[in-house]
Symmetry: C2
């Protein structure tokens, strides 16, 4: 499974920006509360940049996207990118909550069934429409790849890690392949193992 | 209770920008699926601007904050604002899910207890630290009110609507009062009734 910090790591890797990749294995995080206490909001990922600590993966991704040219042209394109990233996160947050935070039992099974039969297919249908609406390029917004496309590829790749299949449209699959075929992302994915945040 | 569309409405009102305030009463939304089908992602709020439809309240708020001068100075301040808005939303989304989407029963009571005894006080403690760290002004970021402060005031005011009390710090209370004492927001709040999205 990819993690919420991966798009930031992809951006650094693609642009040969040196960074300290400080990963906390899940068992260490859960067994030692000092890790959480040293973050602004008790969670990861966190980016330390220019002497400032930023948490929340979307705030981090947006900052890097701005600096590296993946945040569209003009504020309307930027708002579309923000909208799409939030829509993707709404779908995947539902999945993450079920797998990481719910106890085994009938309620978890019911919620998982609702995710797989309603949230996920409906979300894919809505995202597919938004992708089709963009006639300028192969991604969600404008004529080149944006942060929205990287978040889409990263977050939808989590599904496989959870053992789920997503019935993506042809255009969506093609976009996933384009992102994962970027040589630096291919190399990155070949090096990093599952479930490290 | 305030709604997810309120910060956008406050911004329009504060800057005397004419807008069509198309509200859908909850019972109409629930009884007629055409409302959801006419939005990009099946939910509200939605902003139609420059011929484009933007959903997701944070994408809408950020666009208006950019245009109206509530989005900080430079990309680090902007990343801090984004971080704080996402932290606030993480807390409140937990509360909204419990009240709007969970069936009555022991699981709902358990989740509500966890929200009131853990998520909410811990979230307030973390937000309070972030607020205290800003020595430049009374808000979360920089020397003047930003989008983060309006989201804070709006979303924390929902708690009262749900019947909960928040143990806010003195600085947090003062910030809430500053926002709600803006004359146009006072006037707006006096006009609009509860539970309209």
């Amino acid at each position: 499974m990819e993690s919420k910090g991966d798009v930031a790591r992809w951006f650094f890797t693609m642009h040969s920006i040196p960074f300290i990749d400080n990963r906390v294995p899940m068992q260490n995080w859960l067994s030692d509360s000092r890790f959480a206490k040293n973050t602004p909001f008790g969670d990861l990922p966190v980016l330390e940049v220019d002497g400032v600590t930023i948490c929340q993966h979307r705030a981090i991704g947006r900052l890097l996207a701005k600096r590296l040219g993946y945040y569209g042209k003009g504020d309307i394109e930027q708002a579309k990118i923000d909208m799409i990233v939030d829509c993707i996160s709404d779908i995947m947050d539902h999945c993450v909550v079920i797998h990481f935070y719910m106890e085994e039992g009938p309620q978890k099974q019911k919620d998982l069934s609702e995710f797989l039969n309603k949230t996920l297919p409906q979300g894919i249908e809505n995202l597919s429409k938004l992708l089709d609406q963009n006639k300028q390029g192969m991604g969600f917004v404008g004529d080149s790849l944006t942060w929205a496309d990287f978040e889409f590829a990263s977050q939808f790749s989590w599904l496989e890690g959870f053992g789920h299949n997503a019935n993506l449209s042809t255009k969506m699959k093609s976009l996933m392949n384009t992102v994962f075929n970027i040589p630096q992302i291919q190399e990155y994915c070949s090096k990093h193992t599952k479930h490290s945040y």
